[in-house]
Symmetry: C2
DNA sequence: GTTAGCACTCAATCCATTAGAGTGCTAACA
DNA sequence: TGTTAGCACTCTAATGGATTGAGTGCTAAC
């Protein structure tokens, strides 16, 4: 059977009503609610068709209809029209405190959760392809060197390196020159064993110190490769009782608290990039098992130099997709702006 | 009325039973449960006395008894005396790397939550009056200077400062010397307007750059004095339905997620130090309003140089106090070990 | 002082009934 | 042929009365 215009209209009305109320939608409601001027009986017939086609289902016999995953999918794909309102307030919230990346991303998660009333998730950008801009060694005290590593999007990492004996100033200067000569402009993958070996050779008597330095650098790199994930508003999920039993919700909250499976989710979103950067996972489509009863909407943002991150919303299947999508789009845009300014 | 030995025994039996089951305890249960060989009627009489004395209450007429806050308090005090395994004094050296510490403390929170099935809370050690240890200016590119500021607990802060024109190497060197001469070892209070003025004067044409640096310094010191708090196992709270309505629990979870009032709690524990380092807050005694229906057990640990931190458990009033207390004691001991090894 | 016994209380559970929201089907209608 | 009115039917949720049973308080007897 083909889905015609009227069926589409009815389906849309049903889903949209269900999104608001969370209750199964009856034929009479639709008969009154839409401007189709059809009786409830006719709507019922259409509903039967739509159920047959797999877009709707009844939670139990002779109850109203609720959308299936397939129904949501159609709704999301075909009927999404963006709402651009409500964005201004959010922008001001965002700009209040933007000094450090970490606190900014946390802030983003908070704003997102607060504005949508769902759970929010933000991943820090991954810098696999970024290049080293600057390395600086300096002596903090007799037992410690400080290595400051600046990546070209101005992400800065610090490492404290224990040393056996104090170094002279000009020695430090020499090492700094050496390090910057070899490593400036190198991407993090470029720093391989061979290069390390070369540098160590040239470091002469400080090869040993260099050992500690490289260890610090690799640690820093490793740390940079790790995806930080911030979540917020997990407790919002308690507001949607239709997420089934308490156990299911508890599992979900635990997953959010412990970041279980969130790595996979982030990976998935980064690799499975759509045209718009927006992706919607409905019910069983989600890559995380504890979220099978939810929907996830994600957007990827991109800094210069190919560093990408994900922001997303986890909510009930009956989430306000329009609002969430437009919120995410605006926020990624905003993030882009901010990062550009910081450069 | 005086509380005699038998009453105490009965009270303990009641509380201990209630801790297990979470259900009001009846006289018959106690009659069988204890080795007192008393009939339920006698127990009932005693129970009435205990209720009159404020240790027990009935959730409704003709139900069994449950402990009041006062009852719990007696129980806990009594228990502490009996167990009396003394806390060894915790002396540890300053931690080498603060960044490692973060993940360790997170781990501690996780272990704590997992083992007790309550919510866990860990605060990073607090250094009052952090002092500036080292400051380094360097040039990242033509438009930016990088100021690296190391505070004496090895908290490192970076600040990028935009500049109009590139600076010469020896100029930078001069500024570095200037800054370190004046500021090394200074605490936040030391860095007053007068000092800033002096330095700015000596900086000559770079007074403007100095502005940004001072800002970075104050931020860094503030950050060092800020208490990081890690939580885990918040979702465990969903397992205890007697925490009243869902709203109350939601509030609690939100407080844990957003760290609302946790600062106050940590402050309280640090100032209100008991002999053993263990503190128990029951019901209304808790400093955080969203936890009035819970109990909180905390332990403080102490690093060298007066840096103190808190680890704690938040759970229902009927928590397994013995287990929690001994777990906390063990963990603080464990922390002690770890810090010593890292010396 | 302790206990047995009994009347009483009250939340929880069960059960039957009802209300009502909604469907499916059929027959009539335009 | 598509639409609609009408009606029987289904199933959940809500209601409320009866019942259960754990547990108390009191009294009288040991």
């Amino acid at each position: 059977m083909e889905i015609d215009d009227r069926k589409l209209k009815i389906l849309k009305a049903i889903i949209s009503n269900y999104l608001e109320t969370g209750e199964p939608v009856g034929s009479r409601t639709i008969s009154k609610f839409t401007d189709l001027n059809l009786s409830s009986a006719t709507i019922r017939n259409e509903m039967q068709d739509l159920e047959e086609m797999g877009f709707l289902k009844q939670p139990y016999t002779s109850a109203g209809r609720i959308p299936t995953d397939k129904g949501y999918r159609l709704y999301v794909d075909q009927m999404m029209v963006e709402k651009d309102s409500e964005m201004e307030e959010m922008k001001t919230q965002l700009l209040e405190r933007v000094d450090k990346m970490e606190s900014m991303l946390k802030q983003v998660a908070k704003v997102l959760a607060y504005n949508t009333n769902y759970a929010a998730l933000v991943s820090a950008p991954q810098y696999q392809n970024s290049k080293l801009k600057f390395i600086q060694l300096s002596q903090v005290d007799d037992n410690q060197m400080l290595a400051v590593i600046v990546v070209d999007n101005n992400v800065i990492r610090n490492k404290l390196i224990p040393i056996d004996r104090p170094m002279e100033n000009d020695e430090i200067l020499k090492l700094n020159v050496l390090l910057n000569t070899f490593l400036q402009g190198a991407s993090l993958q470029d720093i391989n064993l061979e290069m390390i070996h070369t540098i160590k050779n040239q470091a002469g008597e400080y090869a040993e110190v260099m050992e500690g330095i490289f260890q610090g650098i690799t640690e820093a790199i490793h740390e940079a490769d790790e995806v930080e994930i911030y979540t917020n508003g997990a407790t919002n999920m308690l507001k949607y009782p239709e997420l089934g039993n308490v156990e299911q919700t508890t599992k979900l909250l635990e997953a959010l608290e412990d970041r279980q499976g969130l790595d996979e989710l982030i990976d998935e979103t980064l690799h499975n990039d759509s045209d718009t950067g927006i992706q919607v996972y409905i019910g069983e489509e989600t890559p995380v098992s504890s979220m099978k009863d939810c929907s996830i909407v994600t957007a990827t943002y991109e800094l210069a130099e190919g560093a990408k991150g994900t922001i997303g919303i986890i909510g009930p299947k009956r989430m306000d997709y329009q609002k969430v999508v437009s919120t995410l789009k605006n926020l990624t845009g905003e993030l882009d702006e901010i990062f550009k300014k910081k450069e």
